[in-house]
Symmetry: C2
Subunit: 397 residues, 2 copies
């Protein structure tokens, strides 16, 4: 059987991702999005780059800061990336914290609070932003801030009731989002500034995912379970998010790589990808469906069959990483499918970057490139990460 | 010019709605949804009636109780409707209130709380349920409860800060939802048990909508504005909900009818309908779009072009009522368009009732007939209300 991905093709792929990242994705956002007056970034933009709102989403301020710092650390020490990152760090640290130490979710361009939420995702993104910026700049305060925020996130993640809950205690539940984001946060802290807490915590969170969320009997990764790992047979409890679970799969494959290709972690990451590809890939139209019910009942969300940009970024990473780590031809085929679907349907060939939201049939549902949830993160991270793993693979094979 | 809606056609329409209501919509839900063990209703059902979740959404428990009581009060004194309504009243009053007097949003089948929200819509639906049930049963306690809850809703609606807010005070905003729901609540209280507070409050809320939400210069009804009625030029502030505004239009037309065809209120209701039909009706595929930006920019919600069942129910009522009150042929044409679109695309000819969620192109996006937000309310209310106004019209013309 002929190999789908020869070294020549993998080299072309590496060039493709690098070219997209540096000549299409990043130039859509920078330098125009850097807010020279107030610091931070103005990222809520329509397809052609027109600003549709000058508010700032704190998640995205942190993620953009991380991305610019990471490009500086790994690609090219461009002064404009470092200065851009500093603008984000200053805005995050000066304007995005409430007096109780919790971060806001949504602020005005000047940094006045609009909304705080009952989650600590703002904090995880500020942690990785500070860690990557500390490495880029050598700023010790940023490293301290990253470590402090990482500690706070561990506290939030492990202390029930510390943050107010949306639900009563009648039917307790936990989501895969917390161990997932914490694995990625710890990996970023470890890569950029080192922290002796990381390895142990990463092992614990992977074990929690493996023990409580991965269900081999029904070949599924749950999005939410009861505290003991049992399936909650109500609409919310049954709702799966295949793209999210597959993001979790590549965080675990990444950890396997860090741990000298730990075979147990490779097997775990691959089976998570296998289970959720089967549930998420749309065999009729192509692309990854947003939500599915574990027993194929209707979910609460009416837009469950839409195609969002970010699951495609995560599945492109997961399938390529699984292929490079295992050589299993199936993953090359899946990668080719999702890569071709995504660059054909999401990529805006005229203005650069990707549209965020397609109908199930692949037509564009709305044109914003940036809003409260979308900005320079999943797409540039995918292109950057794929360049990195392809480079490592091609250099050692 | 020939009239589109002759008396013969209007009589056929009346028979059609009555037949749908009594032989298609109501039998989908009752008697099977009455929970004989715990009281209340089991309403989260798939297209064929299969129960997909035995939780209870408090809004819908109240709305279903109101609907059964109202059918008893206005159509036919069927004992099963009265007994069904009693089951809802008992469940609401025994299980859906927190110790602080606020109502829950989502409870288990036994009535254990799952979630409480920062709004008082559960209370408005419990108020109209108790009012209609009081009329049906003669139960004085239910009438007292309805009046008490109406008073609490007035207090919540007029006391800033009494309920916790989702947003900070940086950019204060108010929604059209509060005056709208309060107009309808007051109308129901007045119709069923009478209450001297109603007329004055209804006038105040209509004035607030007219003064702060209706924008003649741009021919628009805003969903949200600043406290002084100015447009908030950010994504949330710009987002319109045409079906919701048109529901507000028919509440005002209904009030105009009650007030001896008050010409100012007829003009107000009709222009709200005119403005939002123009913005909401999908000229390409038919049907009412869910969200639009006031300046045609992208909205935050990616599913903004989906077709939901309930805006169609509200637009069917508004266009028919506007036609019957004004004789303006345009409204007959619009009514015919939306009625034909809705019964062709939403109605489940096999199992009865309507699907809730279509893609923009009219295909079905998800099959649930009942969930946290959908149940026996908008559709049976539309069919019931249209029968009533057609009967009144045909009897007096």
């Amino acid at each position: 059987m002929e190999m789908l991905y020869t070294k020549t093709i993998l080299t072309e792929l590496q060039n493709f991702y690098k070219n997209q990242l540096l000549n299409d994705t990043i130039p859509f956002w920078f330098p125009r999005s850097i807010d020279k007056e107030h610091g931070g970034y103005l990222l809520m933009r329509d397809q052609d780059g027109t600003l549709i709102d000058d508010d700032k989403a704190v998640w995205i301020q942190g993620r953009a800061t991380w991305m610019l710092s990471t490009l500086f650390n790994t690609f090219d020490q461009k002064q404009e990336w470092l200065e851009g990152a500093k603008s984000g760090i200053d805005f995050l640290n000066n304007h995005c914290f409430d007096t109780d130490g919790q971060m806001f979710f949504h602020v005005t361009k000047e940094g006045k609070p609009i909304r705080k939420r009952r989650y600590f995702f703002s904090e995880t993104f500020a942690a990785i932003a500070n860690a990557a910026y500390a490495k880029a700049s050598g700023d010790k305060n940023a490293a301290d801030k990253a470590r402090f925020l990482f500690g706070k996130c561990i506290e939030y993640a492990t202390t029930p009731g510390l943050l107010p809950s949306k639900f009563t205690s009648t039917r307790p539940a936990k989501g895969i989002g917390v161990p997932m984001i914490m694995i990625n946060t710890a990996q970023q802290i470890r890569d950029n500034i080192g922290d002796e807490r990381c390895d142990e915590w990463i092992s614990k969170w992977i074990l929690e995912i493996e023990t409580d969320f991965v269900k081999d009997d029904i070949k599924c990764v749950m999005e939410q379970v009861a505290p003991d790992g049992s399936i909650i047979d109500h609409i919310d409890g049954r709702t799966l998010n295949p793209g999210h679970a597959i993001e979790g799969a590549w965080f675990i494959l990444h950890e396997a790589k860090y741990r000298n290709n730990d075979p147990h972690l490779i097997a775990l990451g691959c089976k998570m990808l296998d289970y959720m590809w089967e549930r998420g890939w749309d065999k009729e139209h192509g692309g990854i469906m947003y939500f599915k019910d574990v027993y194929d009942k209707p979910v609460q969300e009416y837009w469950q069959d839409m195609k969002f940009w970010w699951p495609h970024n995560e599945v492109i990473i997961a399938t390529l990483l699984a292929y490079l780590m295992t050589g299993n031809e199936k993953y090359a085929q899946w990668h080719k499918l999702v890569h071709e679907y995504a660059y054909a349907h999401f990529h805006d060939k005229k203005n650069g970057e990707w549209f965020g939201y397609l109908h199930r049939d692949g037509t564009i549902a709305q044109t914003a490139k940036g809003n409260l949830y979308k900005g320079p993160f999943h797409l540039p991270r995918q292109e950057w990460y794929c360049v990195q793993i392809l480079e490592q693979y091609l250099n050692s094979n």
